[in-house]
Symmetry: C4
Subunit: 258 residues, 4 copies
């Protein structure tokens, strides 16, 4: 079985930029992208189902089932500027699958003429730092992008490795003429690092010249707090749907189904 991409509707986008945020260290990338999706009111237009994801399905709060998925959202600032967001439940669960999933994503966004990718994630320093002091590290597909990052205050990494789709998207994208960068928020490595995510979003807005955009960052703290409480109660939830949280408060049934 190959990956299936279900296009919900075809947006008209002018050379959009892809912003990736899938689960990873501190869930920094996922938290960052989902904050932007919520605050910019981005619209979902496609879902990707891959046999390289785990073999379970999700029961949603209305009793409906859905496959594990990655999701594409878009946001149009105006006729000349738009973003595509990639988020989802999982990265691929096998090494080879990560390459396949990355290639699937690249091939899909090429259809929308994507020429730039920012892939968001965490950089685990093992230290807890204050929100205002969280650093954003970065790496680039080419030296033009590297200079651009540095000029804007991103700390350019110069050694090490980046694991998973965050890095693969940039290097495989480059092979198809897509410029890109990883933006990695400094994190202690906790499961849900809202501060790292906020730092990454702020940097990204600066890089995209969107600093004037109205984003309520405090909503992310609130969401993370609720998720943490839910996790303490050993509940399974979709990290980014607040209605789940309301639901959780009313219920105490066991959630494992096989």
């Amino acid at each position: 079985m190959k990956s299936i991409i279900k296009v919900l509707h075809e947006p008209e986008l002018e050379n959009p930029i892809l912003i990736e945020g899938l689960p990873g260290i501190g869930n920094v990338g996922k938290l960052a992208v989902n904050l932007m999706i919520d605050e910019l009111n981005a619209k979902k237009f496609a879902e990707l189902y891959s046999p390289t994801f785990p073999d379970h399905v999700i029961i949603e709060k209305d009793g409906l089932l859905r496959p594990l998925r990655n999701e594409f959202y878009y946001w149009k600032k105006d006729d000349n500027f738009s973003l595509i967001f990639l988020t989802g439940d999982y990265q691929s669960q096998s090494v080879r699958g990560q390459y396949e999933l990355s290639e699937d994503v690249i091939n899909f966004v090429k259809k929308y003429n994507v020429k730039k990718i920012f892939a968001l994630g965490g950089f685990a320093t093992g230290e807890v730092v204050e929100e205002s002091k969280v650093r954003v590290f970065g790496s680039a597909s080419d030296s033009e992008m590297a200079s651009f990052l540095t000029k804007n205050g991103v700390i350019l990494e110069d050694k090490g490795v980046i694991v998973g789709i965050t890095g693969l998207l940039i290097v495989l994208g480059k092979l198809k003429e897509i410029q890109g960068a990883c933006l990695l928020g400094e994190t202690s490595g906790s499961t849900l690092d809202a501060n790292a995510a906020k730092a990454v979003v702020k940097m990204l807005l600066k890089l995209l010249n969107l600093e004037e955009t109205d984003i309520d960052f405090s909503r992310l703290d609130q969401k993370v707090e609720e998720i943490k409480q839910a996790i303490e109660k050993k509940m399974e939830i979709d990290l980014f749907e607040e209605k789940d949280l309301e639901l959780l408060k009313k219920k105490d049934k066991p959630s494992y189904i096989g």
Copy 2:
């Protein structure tokens, strides 16, 4: 190697409904489907062999070998109503294989114009409950189906996950315009939970408007009892062929062959 589907004969079926019951938690789905196959005298019409199953073959009681398989049976109530049953030895043994197997099944039953699937399984609550109190949980492909389940007494789940082919069939089926639901019998998780299976069958008959159908539920208890005795004697048997059980009583040779 791709999966092989061997069609034994082509039944004429009018928009049949697929009922899936493969091995899983408590073997609830498999027990349920096999009870229906036996009691309705459903006819086998196809076998599926997949390289995602284990790499052994089965020695049958007549000394004949057969591949591990999934089996398709059909039952025609009349010219306007028919069922296809899917049961078998195994689900796929790899994550990716589960997606492939599910896709193989969907593609096959699409040829018979299947537009609805009920996938049967167990819901492990960890509690042992009386036969008359066993609950049936469910999840659906769409809200029409969800309402239908609720109206008939199925307890709609609203969080958690469903592992394996039971859930994958519903979500991959939906992508091909097939409506579906999982029906999960409450089980303590024992290897063979006849009570959970009976509860699922009763609910399914209600949903299918087949409550008048003559089913001898006590035969399932008897069969499970015999299987349990055989297992105690460390015998390998096909769970659903009673002739095996008769055979077992006469023999005591070791059964492992390599």
Copy 3:
């Protein structure tokens, strides 16, 4: 990469019968087939290389490298009767690979019009029995073959499983109109069970109406004895090339190379 079959030369064979003996329990099948290859002076005509084998290569005694392989030999009794032997270094090392390798073998021998397969192996009873009392168990692709086995003294198995290519060849062969049987020599499970192998060969000769063929069974004892001594010295050897054994006596260099 797909399997590669290198045909060394094309024999003219009239509906040959395939005899399989690859490594397995007690190496019964491999020992049996190699005894027949040696004693009948069968000629190698093809080699199969599969990416499902391990990823190392063999250094032969002349310093030449060769891939891990399965080998096809043929023996022509006369214009109306011939055998193809399948032996080799390994079965596939993955579950899916076993299905693929079996399919590769079936597809290859179909070109030579093979209509019957005997797959040889061991049946681990855990007991050590005298050479003259070793039983041969069997299973068949169809009832005609089952009767034939029984009539000739093969003990027909009626439950259990057969692991690996020995069983898969028979069931996948049957899907392509090839009749077949497994012949399994009773073995305690020791690494090299010459007695089980001899029993299987004797039974096979009877089934093939070749009882008059001149086979020196004592050579197998001698070979197994030499191999065991070599193994004690922790030497790596090809089990079935006597020149290796001569070589071993002269050397004591370490054999692991990476």
Copy 4:
């Protein structure tokens, strides 16, 4: 996803010989090939990216990302003699992947009319020997090559196995009419065995009739020493780029990024 080979430019080469040196025991092959690349000033002309490599990417010292890769370099002595070097970050990380990668390499170099391969690696004897006494072991694709090796002082191995791409390239190459040999430097098995690598390079130069070529072997000792110091400091580095080492001296930031 299939492997991607990115050709940087097309050299004009007359029947070049392929010299392989990827990571392995003692990194003997990689050290040897990289010494030759550096000292002969060989030019990179192609990169190979394979989904059978690990799923991370490398951050280079200029802050740029690159995929894990194998690299092809060429060196032209004159119009009649040229070499292609294969080195890189990794061999494939799965058994099947090793076969696929080997086939990819063979297919690629066939385009340049490669008719001979020397695959370099280590032979772990477990003993530490003086630099001047390091032996070079070998195995060959055919007896002509075996004689040639022996005549030049290579110790011909006559049993054992060779694990990984070093051996696979020779046996799969032979299937495509490419002659080849493995040259394995005696090593205690340390991570970086410069002496084994030097011995292999010296032997290879002799075999290629390039003994007069000016190679500064002491540079390898110096490089290995620097790498070892860097490893002690738990730094991640590219083994063969000296600029990394300079960089390392200035920095102490943690290098793990996820």
